[in-house]
Structures are given as structure tokens and as C-alpha cells.
Symmetry: C2
Subunit: 791 residues, 2 copies
Amino acid sequence: MDQEYNVNNGDNVNDIENEGLLDGKQNERYSSQFSDESMAYNEPFLVKRRNTTSQIAIIGANVCPIESLDYEVVENELFKQDWRSRKKVQIFQYVVLKWAFSLLIGLGTGLVGFFSNIAVENIAGFKLLLITDLMTKKKYFKAFAALAGCNVGLAAAAAALCALVAPAAAGSGIPEVKAYLNGVDAYPVLAPSTLFVKIFGSILGVSAGFVVGKEGPMVHTGACIASLLGQGGSRKYHLTWTWLRYFKNDRDRRDMITCGAAAGVAAAFRAPVGGVLFALEEAASWWRSALLWRTFFTTAVVAIVLRAFIQYCASGTCGLFGEGGLIMYDVSTVKVKYSLADLLAAILLGAIGGILGSIYNYLVDKVLRVYSIINEKGAIFKILLVIAVSLLTSCCSYGLPWLAKCIPCPTVVQDNCPAVGGSGNYKPFQCKPGYYNDLASLFLNTNDDAIRNLFSTGTTKEFHMPTLFLFFASIYCLGIITYGIAIPSGLFIPVILAGACYGRVVGRLFGSISRLDTGLFALLGAASFLGGTMRMTVSLCVILLELTNDLLLLPLVMLVLLVSKTVADTFNIGVYDQIMKLKGLPYMEAHAEPYMRNLVASDVVSGPLVTFSGIERVGNILHALRSTGHNGFPVIDEPPISEAPELCGIVLRSHLLVLLKGKYFSRDRVRTGQDIFQKFSASDFSKAGSGKGIKMEDLDIQEEEMGMYIDLHPITNASPYTVVETMSLAKAAILFRQLGLRHMCVVPKSQGRAPIVGILTRHDFMQEHIFELYPHIDPHKRTLDQPEEDI
Amino acid sequence: MDQEYNVNNGDNVNDIENEGLLDGKQNERYSSQFSDESMAYNEPFLVKRRNTTSQIAIIGANVCPIESLDYEVVENELFKQDWRSRKKVQIFQYVVLKWAFSLLIGLGTGLVGFFSNIAVENIAGFKLLLITDLMTKKKYFKAFAALAGCNVGLAAAAAALCALVAPAAAGSGIPEVKAYLNGVDAYPVLAPSTLFVKIFGSILGVSAGFVVGKEGPMVHTGACIASLLGQGGSRKYHLTWTWLRYFKNDRDRRDMITCGAAAGVAAAFRAPVGGVLFALEEAASWWRSALLWRTFFTTAVVAIVLRAFIQYCASGTCGLFGEGGLIMYDVSTVKVKYSLADLLAAILLGAIGGILGSIYNYLVDKVLRVYSIINEKGAIFKILLVIAVSLLTSCCSYGLPWLAKCIPCPTVVQDNCPAVGGSGNYKPFQCKPGYYNDLASLFLNTNDDAIRNLFSTGTTKEFHMPTLFLFFASIYCLGIITYGIAIPSGLFIPVILAGACYGRVVGRLFGSISRLDTGLFALLGAASFLGGTMRMTVSLCVILLELTNDLLLLPLVMLVLLVSKTVADTFNIGVYDQIMKLKGLPYMEAHAEPYMRNLVASDVVSGPLVTFSGIERVGNILHALRSTGHNGFPVIDEPPISEAPELCGIVLRSHLLVLLKGKYFSRDRVRTGQDIFQKFSASDFSKAGSGKGIKMEDLDIQEEEMGMYIDLHPITNASPYTVVETMSLAKAAILFRQLGLRHMCVVPKSQGRAPIVGILTRHDFMQEHIFELYPHIDPHKRTLDQPEEDI
């Protein structure tokens, strides 16, 4: 049989670091936001139609062994032993610790969320106070210099952190978390340094007045906190603890990171249910009822923590942090009554949001590709790009308000008019007392306050139409050019800002026939644009409801989201999926592609198949580990151990390394059986934290030991999932994805052949790999025109 | 190899009808609420430690072929042909129809939900008006006679409908829907007659003053509506349409029924997001993102329909249906401020709810077992039982208020005091003007109004403690004895009533140290009891929030639910799971049991293995179909077709019947190949509606045809999922469950043997079957003490 296999990944010590752009045409590269330290970094990864095995071999590099989805890390004697030895107390401990960790994740994320809000409010508030002060003294140039100076300083600090300490902290982080939860183990994405930079970079970036949010970064932060806890701290920073061993498998870690992502959303929007739904709808690839419950617990903790802090700060002890530091646009005081006209308006808004959203995604993609060329040139270019964008943003936010006319303050008004402090709805800007500049109220505020102003009810006339158009256009463009620079940057806030703007415009247009408040139209506009870019439905809906605390708007929000998602989906995919694809993260969809129905499992098996005997020579194992990048090797029992050659199971590279490190050798070709328990305990084989496993360099095998034997049976997973070579590839893909496998054995259909045909890994199901093998498949037409079809 | 297999199910024409009690000790039987018409009905099913093949064979009877979870109904030439022939237009049609059907389900469920609310409000309102009228005239005996008479009349009507027309309509229906979505195809559960009885039985039952809700039945109603649409109407009632063919597979039907269940919750509680979450958390076994979106759409439609009707009825055109006909307890006007004391109160409430909930479940189980003996005796006994419970309920609701003292009306009150109409918070009962009877306010109201009274805020002193205790005790007991009688009966309302009662009690106790309103304590109490019985978390939380329209309570509700679920889970399982188990529905859990780790796939294979050749004699097929109840048969290619015997795939009974009916025979043992397309189209093989497939009796095979041959290759599923015989049973179970299989082939590990060892079906994974084979496994200790452990 010539079918061979390919199990990815050379040294999986640096789990990621090979990130590149997936683009068949120009082979341009997208400067990964991950560590540049790795050699492999410059290898484009998943490049189409380049038929070199090394390319293919790299692909699986980021794939984590998630065969443990079904909890049984390895179904063999050793681990049975482990289970048997687990006393009831230990299982109890395990369960209690799981919950304790959920609590810690909730507490941690809540704390960080609150801290970053306070920091942003204070830094940005101080900056705005300074400028307002200068403006009232008519020192216009000084005011601009102060604004631009502050912004550039903050931006440069954020960019420096990001470019020099943790490039993985740039961007939103949601695509990376999503990919991790799908089984793509990209180490720096969840590293402690990334966490640090994400928190402080996000505070600096948002304070610098960029059109970015802290919501996406909060999700990433939550996931990082969960990962740090799940790994039992960071060995690098000497923060470790012994509970570590309880969570040494992928499933538990993934569960914790799911909780972390949910906690992030909950902390960002004060939306605990929305957080759970976000984790469910957007982040997680596998889901269980038990996880729902734990996630829910985590977000509840976040909600309680935030509430406690807000009550503490209500007395004014948190500096410039007012009650509204955390975004919360309470519109529940407005009586919602809507008619048929409002339904039409909702559908119109949905359509606009869908179209604008898909254009937004398209442009973000293009800009990211351009930026990748710049960012690739080095850290200094990254920082310069950030500074350039910062200057542009400062120019917009200071320059454009000059175009707006001064408006006399409304006679009845709850807020101060003109505003006296840093925030407020009525910024005086250049106007004389008793007047305000509506565009300045939007531009020279924190983004959160700008959203609050746009969502504010009973303020129909207070933003003029040209102001809304101008603000929308600049936010839309700034949002596009800001995402992709080397700072932590969330997409939620720019999208909500732009959406709320056109929502208000539509509200004004429908003003005569609608009874809805313009502020509610702004909310619907934001929903439509969110739906158009992110393509979530239920979670966005719940997040918006929790933000605005008005359940009566629910049917309208649902309608808007449904329309905008439907419209946008006809053009392109969601922004997070798009970024994930751009970064070349090998995400496995839950469904099989239609062309897979016409291939069988053995059609996509590739690469050289390396197998071991049940009792193998040390030299052979070392050679195989050195010469291939495979992470899993089939073990075949041959006579005299069995009657005929038969597939014994599969061994993992990491487990082989443990045996080699521990020198579990014997002079003769015999089964050592239970002896292994004298040398190893089950926890020696449990999964190490990212980047912490035994490396090839750690081995010290003497020449005379090369001829000795290792009995692989105790560490062989004797129950690997297998498919017959003639199994439809579509069904094999579903099996692989649903069970969260890393390796799937392909066995021959007929007898009398070698007991294994090959191994399928995540990479083999990737569209790029299949199209490379079968270039005549047309993915767009998705027709079934290849000759092998009727096999 | 002696290992044999067992593929369940005799004639799957009556898909269910064999329902019995799963109880090893006494073999008592729980009278199923399903059709008594079936012969098989009296067979206890899943009886432990009775080693007769017929018993085993019955078990799979209710299992529907859900191998189509991965969309590929059968992975063979015929269906590839089908896919190829599907023009783009058809796929477009398919997608549009899916959405159209979701719309229809939403509209239908919304309409039915609203209709039943109006009906209940009018019938019960009329009854209560009559009694109030008689009471004010001091005709106390007449009033009781009127109450009891109305109640018994309504109850008897409901029971008659239920016992004679559709026994499957009794009870809540949620366990059956849950089982269906897990793959248990129980025909009468979703039949049109069940829908009819569910709607009208529920209206009559609730109007009869039983302590039951219409919420569970609404879920069932939604599922029935979806099923009716999915099957393309009912052939029996001459309501069919041709779109039928688009949804002739299990996956599409299951999707629609998921939407229906969500729509039911949405209609019952006006909680669209809660409905989606309910479907996700409690109902569905498989879930996709696309389904989330469609479910969301359906519930949005329901919400809009309900809103439109309520606006229509607001002008008073719906008789006694007031604004509050649909439960909606708006507490958003209350300012929520809570302190540490309230957190403690919430934890206390959670603990109480957990303990009371688990006792409730325990008692419901016991009462159901007793009732099953009564119900089994015949329809007349069912009706008598209903009448007895109805009389008892009437006695309680009329008799107990006499024990309460008259309370002077509060001086400042929004409601009328004493109440003048049918509903209201201050029932005069026997009291003189200016006074009211607080217990009568709870008993002599519809359940919805009673809940509204308990949830009402600013009414701390208006229900006295003895009243609350008495009402709680009676509702708790009545709730337990009412569930299980032959009327459609939801569990939500009794649980909410009882929970709200003790919530108020706790609220009074904490009154001095808490700033929370007693009405909010009632809400938390209801949450705790719901959590303690039903064990849902996120969906209950969202449903309660949508009901009460107050998001600020969220953290407290979450805390209460978490505590109550945790406490209750230490004692027993949720009430729906318990009922499902009692009914013997073979539900497959998402996780494998620990003892399964110590068994391998071939350990549980049982029953005679019947296989076919690739080209098989008609006589053999007929004989196998007649003599076994199997639904799937392995097809083995033998020389000369293949070099050595090899597993070709699996054929389904239903597909064989199509070939036999169509007389697709040939005189010689040859492959007929593509000829099959001249006789059949793909739609001939698509799954018929429940109970509508070809039956054995429909066949008319002549004697001379018995010797002819059928080429089975075109209808053989050539890519069945297989496991090696040494695969851990735990992993096999997860594969089976995750992919939603019906048949899983077990293949030999070593070569040179028959190509198939046996077939695993849902039944083989059931605990009862495994414990029958291995009685020494102790499910409670879950130790791993069997000798075969270290295979």
C-alpha cells in the first residue's frame, strides 16, 4: 500500500510561532502578531498549491492533542491504574477545584475588567479635562498639541509593549481564543506575557483615543487568566502551585478557557447571560451541559464582583470613574410602543447593517493584508504605524468638530449644558457659553461616553444630521484602519459607534411615522451593524438587552439581527472567521464540505507512514522522533507477540519522550508490563503546560542504549478511533470534528494487508490540502465533477 | 466467533406503544400515557435480569434511525445521484422552506399559546365570577357546589379526551420531547391527535383549577405543531402537502421539533431568549450554530405574534382576558439594592429549594408508580382518578380559606379591595366589606393570578405567615398528586407557586435586615424551587428574567439557581430525567459511565447476527425480515464479488422493504448497478412520516420470486461507522452518541475472521442491558472489580 500518512509538527515545544498568511495568489505574508522569536515564523503556513512535504508538515504544528475530549487521556493500562487509584477524596477534590477555579477566573476577570475601566476613565478623563480647560482659555493650538501629544504618547507606549513584549496581544484576540477552543494550541496566545500586555496595552490604547474597544481584549484577557490558572501558574515567572496536576488534560483546560472567555464578555458588558451565550455561540467548538453551568457560575461571579466595586465607587472614591464607567446604557425608563412602521424601519436598518457590515469586513481584510507587510518589517515599523494612525485619529477628533455649528443648549436638560467636566453630552468646544458643539460631544469623549450620548433618549434634536453623517463616516473609516495595528483592539466599540450613528439617522427619517425614541433607533442601528460584521445572533441580542436593560425591545432587536446577518452572509463570512482564516489557523468547521462526499478517507492520507513495533528498539524510536515531525505513531504488534500483524494502537510523541527521558529500557525484546509503575506515575504522562513538555534536547541517550528495547504497550492508546479507508471523507471529517480527535487511524477494508493505511490529522481535512491534491475540485461551484466520484 | 448482534425492533410501524416501567424489583408497571391499542403495550420493557431475547429485542423499538445526523442519509450511489441531481434552485427552495417552516411553527405556536390563554382566562374567569357572586350572596354551599361542579365537569372532559383520544397527551410532554430529540422516535407522542388533546385538554385542565400549568404542555404543543408541519401534514386527516419530500430525514425533523419546543417555551412565558436556551439546555441532544439561529427566529416570531395579539386585546375585546392573561410579572419598577444579608438569604433559599425540590422529585416518582397501577386498569379508572383529584383540589381551595382570618384592607392600595371581578389581590370570600381573605386570594384565582399576587411588590404585610405556610403545604402536596393523572399537566406553575410561597416566608424572616422587597424574595423562592426540581440553570434564569423584566436581579437569581441545583443534585436527578427513566425511554447520555471504561465493544454485543450477501436471494431477505426485528443488516461481499469476504456496509429494513415492494429482482446473481434509477427515485427511500412506512403486510411476493436475487449494493450504506471489537465501550458509547448513530458495526481486530463481529444499537449501551450481562458491576460504588478489567 502506498498510502502514507502525515502527522504534522516537528518540535511541538514552541507550539505556535509559525503563523503566516493563507493566500494562494501572491504569497504575501501577514505579519503574525505572535512571537517573532521562532525560526519557523517565516515559513508561510498552509500555502496553497505548493507541493512540498515540509509545508504540509508544518501545518499541524499548532494542533493540540485533543483526543482527550472523551476524558480518557489514553485508554491503556497505565491510565486505568490511575483511575483505579483515584480515591473518592481525590475525585471530590477535583470537582471542588474545578469550581474553585471557575470562581477564581470570575474574580480575576471581574477585577481586571473593573481595574481597566477605572484606569481608562481616569487617564482619558484627565486628558479630556486638560483639553477642555485649554479650550475654554481659547488656547486652541495648545489644546490640539496636548491632545495629540497625549494620544501619541499613550499609543506609542501601547505599541511598544505590544511589539516588543507580546506581539500575540495585538488585535482583538477573539479569533485566537476561538481557534484554541477548536483545538489549535497556539502557545503565546495565552501566555502570561500576553495577558500582561493585553491588559495594559488595552488600557493605554483605549485611553489614547483610538477607535477601539476594550471588549474583545477583555475576552482574550479572561481566556489568558483561565489558561494561567489552568496551567498552575507560570514557571517562567516562578508562580506555580501544585494543583497543577488536576488539570493536565486538554479538556479541562479548554473548559476553563471557555469559562474565561465568557467571563471576559460578562466583565466587558456587565452581561453575564450574554457572556455565557457568547461562549456558546461564538467561542466554543464543543459544548456540554455541565460546562454551561460552570460558565454560568463564572459569569455570575463576575457580575457580583463588578456590582460590589461599582457600589464601592459610587461614593466617588475612584477618581474620575463615575457611575457610568462601565458601559451601561439604561433605556428602561422609556416606554416602548411600536407599530408596523417600526418593524419596517427595523428591516431597513437590518439591511443597511448587513451591507455596511459586509463591506466593513471586506475592507478590514484588505487593510490587514497591507498592514501585515508593514508590521513584518520589524517592531519599529509597528510602532510607527501606530503613531501614524494615532495622529490621524487626533486630527479627526480635534479637527472635524470645527465643521459643526454651535447649537444653543436645550431649555430643559438633565445634564449640564455646556458640560463642565471631562465627559458629558454637551461639549462647549469653541462655542460661547450657552451653546454646545454636538460633534465635539461625540469626538472629544471616551468611546463609552460617546455611545452613551448616542443611545441617550429624549435627545432627538440634539445631534444634527450633518454631524451624524460626518461622525459615522470618520468612525467607519478609522475603525477599519485602526484594527490590525499593534495594539490590543476590540471591534465591538467602533461597530457600536458607527451603528448607533446611522441608527439615529434612520430614526430621524422615520421620526414622523414612528413612536420609538431616536435613542432606541440608535440601539437598533448598533445591533444591525454588529450583526452585519460579527454574525452572531442570540448572544449579541442578549448582550444588547443586558446593556440597555430593556427587554421590551427584544423582538425588534431580534428582527434587526436576523435581517442583518442574513444580508451580510450572502456576501462574506464573519469578521472573526475572516481574521482566523487570514492568520492561517486551521479551524475545523462543524460540518463537512460538499466536495468531501466524493472523496474517501484514504484519498487525503499523505506523508510517510512511520510505525513502531509493540516492542521497539530505542534507536528506531529516536530516529523516528528526530526525522519526522509526527506527534502520533501507530504501534503494530507482529509475530511472535500476535499471530498476525495487527494494529495495537497509537503512541504520542510526548509519551515516548517521557519513556526515553526515564530510560525505561530493557536489554531483551520482552514485555515489561506492570514494571512501568515502578518508574513512572500516571501524572508523568499528563499533558504539560504549553511549551513545558520534555524536548528532544533534554534526552541523553548513550550509544549502548540505542540497541535496547522499549515495551510500548503500557503507553499505547489501545482504542484509537479508526475509519475504514473507503469511508466517505465527509463522514470521517464529522467523526474527527465531533469527537475532537487529533489522530484518526485509517484501516484497510480488505484483509491480508498491512493493518494500517495511514493516519489522518486536522491538516488532512483542510481545504487547502485537499485542493492541492485534487486541483480540479472547484470550491465555488462545488460541483461534483471529478472522475473518482462513483467509487 | 460467537459474538452476535441484536438489532432491536420488530415491526417499527407502530414506533412506540411498548412502554413499561423500568423496575427490577417488583416488575410493577407504570401505565404509559401512550396508546393502549398496541399489543406490545403490556410488555414490560427494559426489565432487568430477565434473559430472554424477546425482551431485549423490544427495547430498540422506539429508536429512530438517526444515522442521518451527518446529513448523508445513506452514503451510497443512489443518494449521491440525488445530491447531484439537486439543482441550485432546489437547494434554494430547501433553504427557503426551512425558514418558512420556522416561521409557520412560530406563528402556529404563538397563535395556539394565545388562544389557550384567552380560553383559560375566560372559562376560569367565568367560573370564579360565578362563585364570587354566590359568596357575596352568602350562598356558601351553593358556591362550593358550583366550584366543585365546574371543576369536576372540566376535569372529566379533559380526562375523557386524554384517556380515550390520545393517552400520549397526558403529563408534561417535555420528557417525551427530550427523548425524541435524543433519537427515541415514539410515534403517538407527536401525532396530530396528541396535538389536539394537548391543546384542549390543557385548557380544560387548567380551567378546572388543578394545580397544573400550561407551560409544559405548550412545549409539547410546539413540538407537535413542528412535527405535523415536518411530516407534511397528516395523511389520516387528509391534510397533506407536497413539500413533504424536503424534510424526509430525521435531522431536519429534529431541527424543526427543536424549534417547536423553543417556540412553546417562548409562547408560554413570553420569553423568546429563554425559549432558545431551554431548547438548548434541556431539550436538544445535538446542537449546531445554524440551529441556534433558526430557533431564535422561531421564538422571535412567537414574541411578535403574542405582542400583536396582546395589543389587539388591550382594548378589552377578548372577554375576561386582561392585560395579564399571559403571565408577566413586571417587577422592574422596584429599585433593586441588595447587601450581604441578601446574598445569605439567597443561599438559604437555594438550599431550601434544593432540599424541597429533591423531595418533590422523589414523591412525584412514587406517586407516578402508584398511579400507573390505577391508570393501567383502563380509561374509566383514569377518568375516575382525575375526578377524585379534582374533588380534592376543590375541597382544598374552597375549604382552606375558611381557616384564614379576615384582614382589613390596606389604606393605600392600587387594586380594588376587596376585589370586585374574577381576579384580583384581595378576595372578600366570607369577609365583610372592607376586609379580605388572603388565602382565598391565592386559592380562588387562576394559578397565573395567584403567582402574580405572590410576586406583587409593596405588599409585604398583606399575606400572613400562616396563610403562606398553609398555601405552600397544600400546593406542594396537590402538585405531587396531580402530576400523573390523565390530563396534560405542566410542572412549572405548581413549582413556581410553592417556591414563591416559601420565598415570601423567607423574605418576611429577613425583612429586618434586608432591603429587598418581599415580592422579589418570592421570585427568588420560585427560582430556587425550579432549580431544585428541574435542574436547569441558564434557561430558567433567563425565563425568570424575561418574565419579571428586571435584569438587576440577575446575580441573585443565578446564585439561587446554582445553590439549589447543587444541593438537589446530591440527592437525585431532575424531574424530567426521572420521568423519562420511569417511562423506559432509552435516553443516551452525552457522557459514558465509568464502568464502561472496563468493558470493550464486543462485550455487550448480543443477539443473533443476521447478515446478507451483496446479492441476496429474495427468500432469505423475506425470512430475515419476518423472523427478526432488526432494523439494520450488515451486507457482506463474498467471492466472486470480492477477493475475500469483506464488509460492504449496512442496509436498513425500510430500504429493503422499498426494494421488495417495487419488485426490484433479477433472475441471476448479477450486479444490476445503475438500473435501479429506472425503477426508483431517491425520494422513494427517504424516511416516511412516523407510522407511514411500508409494512410487511404490504408486500406481495409470489412463490416463484422467492428464488430470485436482489442486488443490495445500491441501497447499502457503504460508509457505516465502525469500531474495533477491542475498543473501550466508553469510547464506543461516545462515538455512538456524538454522531447520533443508530447502528454501529463492530469489526474484528485480527485478520482471517468474519468481517463483522456484531452490531451495536442504542439498546446495547443501556445500563440495564449491561448490568444484565455483568451483574457483578455495582453501579453505585462504580468500582472496577470485574476480572476482565485488564484485557
